[in-house]
């Protein structure tokens, strides 16, 4: 899937599951209509793991978020894992799950057993999905027009300043 399609899809999901425009993203609206999906916040002991999406036939899909990470990181991880759920169900079913390493959200390291290119592709898609789901373009532009401040925007969307600056750059609002 090309990244522009990923963004478009994520923006559609953001409008559908977050019609009241609240932060952090109301994942309960997703689980309410997707009975095969459950979300768990767990204090994982592996400090390099930020989250995972598991699959088995009985339970369906389970998103696990490492609750030891900062809240902003947890929000992004959850959105990233939802990206896997919406975009990569075939891979999740085939592999029984995907585990995302801490640095994975920055795209540098891979904790996954697919080949590197395939892993990079799906992680990139999940990251772009997460960015659009948490920070829809229209809302970011609106916030940027008023604040003109990366930290304030990040606080509004409850994401890290790094995630916000990447999104602002992507949208061409900052250099």
């Amino acid at each position: 899937m090309i990244l522009s399609e990923v963004h478009k899809l994520a923006e559609e999901y953001a409008a559908r599951y977050n019609p009241d425009r609240v932060t952090p993203f109301p994942y309960e609206n997703v689980t309410a209509v997707c009975p095969d999906l459950q979300i768990y916040f767990v204090e994982l002991h592996e400090e390099d793991v930020s989250g995972a999406t598991m699959y088995n036939q009985e339970e369906g899909f389970s998103v696990i978020v490492n609750a030891k990470k900062s809240e902003n990181r947890q929000h992004f991880t959850l959105a990233h894992e939802l990206g896997h759920y919406f975009l990569h169900q075939d891979i999740l079913q085939k592999e029984s799950g995907l585990i995302d390493g801490d640095d994975l959200l920055d795209g540098s390291k891979i904790l996954y057993r697919l080949d590197q290119a395939e892993a990079s592709r799906i992680e990139k898609e999940a990251n772009h999905f997460a960015a659009s789901l948490l920070m829809p373009a229209a809302l970011v532009s609106e916030a940027w027009d008023i604040t003109k401040d990366i930290e304030k925007c990040a606080k509004l969307f409850k994401v890290s300043t790094v995630a916000m600056s990447i999104r602002l750059t992507e949208l061409g609002l900052v250099d």
Binding site: V22, T23, H45, E59
Partner: protein
Amino acid sequence: MATTPNKKIALGSRATYGRLLKAYSKIPTAQEPARPTTPRQSFDEELERERRHLQNADLAQDIKLKKKTLNLLFWFLGLETVAIFTFALLQATHWLGFSMEEWSFKLLISATIAQITAMLFVAVSYLFPKAKN
């Protein structure tokens, strides 16, 4: 539920990955799914609050600048008034041989009073601008 307490894992290791996959697959049976605990905040309300905050900050900065400018202006006008009174006193007493042509003195006094009045008018208009419709 977790496999290795607080341990850095070998990223990319197939064995580690398999072990974690097995461990994490037990989580759904071991605990209840999450319910939202973080309060949801309206983006629009937060943005409106931020907008008002910025407007207030702008206003506060504006008032601070005006206050500073007006303080300087009042000091300047005060000193000018003192100077003109001194001139008037010197002209009246001819102290230290001070003497100005009558017309020069009148011109100086009139011009200074006009200038002080004009500056006060400008300052007050700037401080209390007429509300726009």
